[in-house]
């Protein structure tokens, strides 16, 4: 039994490397997109608002796997071909970015109007107002939402196995094909590894949640 686990290690480690790569890259782009789309939806220009709303609703309204397949299998028709890794990161970032942008927007809207008015009274430009007054306060409110979304994103990375990217899930399915008798060990190990990857994110999310609720009744 222990031997089976040891034999599985190299393949699973390779898979874990890819899973973490997809996770980290997608997290970075998700939150960049979240800020762009979230702020864009609050823009005073109607055109920007409309574009951001359409993006958010399309990506929240369809399924991540459908988006992933669309980007990986359909875009080549238009001459845009991505590697599985790039397609995975793009789909994950666009999908979770749409969800995260709602977190950004909600947090910014929750800052009292008096803050904006005070900033105007201090003769700040709209850009200064946002960067120095609103976002620093709103950011703290966003963090718990970001923490939970990061866990969701981590779970979403398993879908890249379905476009043949060699992540943890994919490696386990391949392992299983050659050692069907050890299916149980393989999938138990897989679940445990995912849980270990999720653990720091869970601890972080809980900590952020607790910290956000401090000082509130």
């Amino acid at each position: 039994m222990i031997n089976t686990y040891i034999e599985m290690v190299p393949a699973l480690l390779n898979g874990a490397k890819i899973t973490i790569e997809v996770l980290v890259l997608s997290l970075i782009f998700t939150y960049i997109i979240a800020f762009i789309a979230g702020l864009g939806k609050l823009s005073k220009f109607r055109a920007i608002r409309v574009v951001c709303t359409i993006y958010i609703e399309i990506f929240r309204g369809t399924s991540l796997l459908v988006q992933l397949f669309w980007i990986y299998f359909v875009l080549p028709f238009f001459g845009i071909e991505f590697s599985a890794l790039t397609a995975g990161v793009i789909a994950m970032s666009l999908c979770y970015g749409a969800y995260a942008s709602e977190v950004v927007r909600g947090a910014i809207l929750s800052i009292p109007k008096g803050q904006t008015e005070a900033a105007i009274a201090l003769n700040m430009t709209p850009f200064q107002r946002m960067m120095k007054i609103i976002i620093p306060q709103a950011f703290k409110i966003m963090l718990p939402g970001f923490g939970n979304l990061s866990i969701e994103l981590m779970k979403g990375t398993s879908l890249v196995s379905l476009i043949t990217l060699g992540d943890l899930t994919y490696q386990s399915l391949t392992l299983r094909n050659t050692n069907v008798a050890h299916t149980t060990e393989i999938f138990v190990a897989l679940l445990v590894i995912y849980f270990i990857i999720a653990l720091p994110l869970i601890v972080l999310a809980r900590w952020l949640e607790r910290r956000a609720s401090l000082g509130r009744v």
Partner: protein, 234 residues
């Protein structure tokens, strides 16, 4: 646009649209399971027997932290070794339902926690049995405020059903993939799937938002109503 073929669109649309029923059936079956199991988990979590509470909490955390796709493979590939062979559809709805039941349990918990302590005490002092307490006093007050949140999970589950394609359930996405691979044209089938998902989930999301606003308004007006009821009873 010449790249988009309408004749091909009309050819594959009926195939994909038919598969939508499988998607909807999977969503609803898994949702009913999630709602029922979620309630059981929420009630077990309040058990006075502490080890049971810990097991429920630990298991829920584990299920919530690991990908539903992997759980799906687990149910489909591992359970047969223990004599439980499930059809892809049943395995899929079971995995999805169990995964989401842990989320539903959290929502039930927030609803149950928001029922004032006095209600429990009143039920106890009226000599209600434990079942009566839950059925007649606590749940009727705990559930209505959380209906919109439960509705949001219905939409989330609907959007998660495409993962069932990984274990060969021919739902919408799998039907599109099969249609596409037969002709090497994926543009139309996958776009149809996306549009179908959007057409179903977006109006539902708007509906739930409306319901939420309505329920909020009602709970604000509840105080007056309660006072009135009291007056009538007196």
């Amino acid at each position: 646009m010449s790249i988009w073929s309408w004749s091909y669109t009309f050819e594959v649309f009926p195939i994909i649209f038919d598969a939508l029923w499988i998607t909807l059936a999977a969503t609803i079956t898994a949702y009913v399971l999630a709602m029922v199991l979620g309630l059981v988990l929420a009630i077990l979590r309040r058990s006075a027997f502490k080890p049971l509470t810990w097991i429920v909490i630990g298991l829920s955390e584990f299920i919530r932290a690991t990908p539903p796709l992997v759980q799906l493979f687990f149910v489909f590939y591992v359970l047969p070794f223990y004599g439980i062979s499930l059809s892809p559809f049943v395995a899929g709805t079971l995995a999805l339902g169990v995964h989401y039941s842990t989320y539903c349990a959290e929502i039930y918990r927030s609803g149950i926690d928001s029922v004032p302590r006095g209600q429990w005490e009143a039920a106890t002092s009226l000599n209600f049995s434990s079942t009566q307490k839950w059925r007649k006093i606590i749940l009727p007050q705990a559930i209505p405020p959380i209906i919109p949140m439960l509705g949001n999970y219905l939409i989330s589950m609907f959007k998660d059903t495409p993962i069932l394609s990984a274990i060969t359930v021919v739902e919408t996405l799998q039907a599109a993939k099969i249609a596409g691979s037969a002709s090497f044209r994926y543009l139309e089938p996958f776009t149809i799937v996306g549009v179908l998902f959007l057409l179903l989930s977006y109006p539902s999301a708007l509906l739930i938002k409306k319901l939420e606003v309505k329920l909020n308004r009602r709970s604000l007006g509840k105080k007056d109503k309660k006072l009135k009821e009291k007056g009538v009873a007196a």
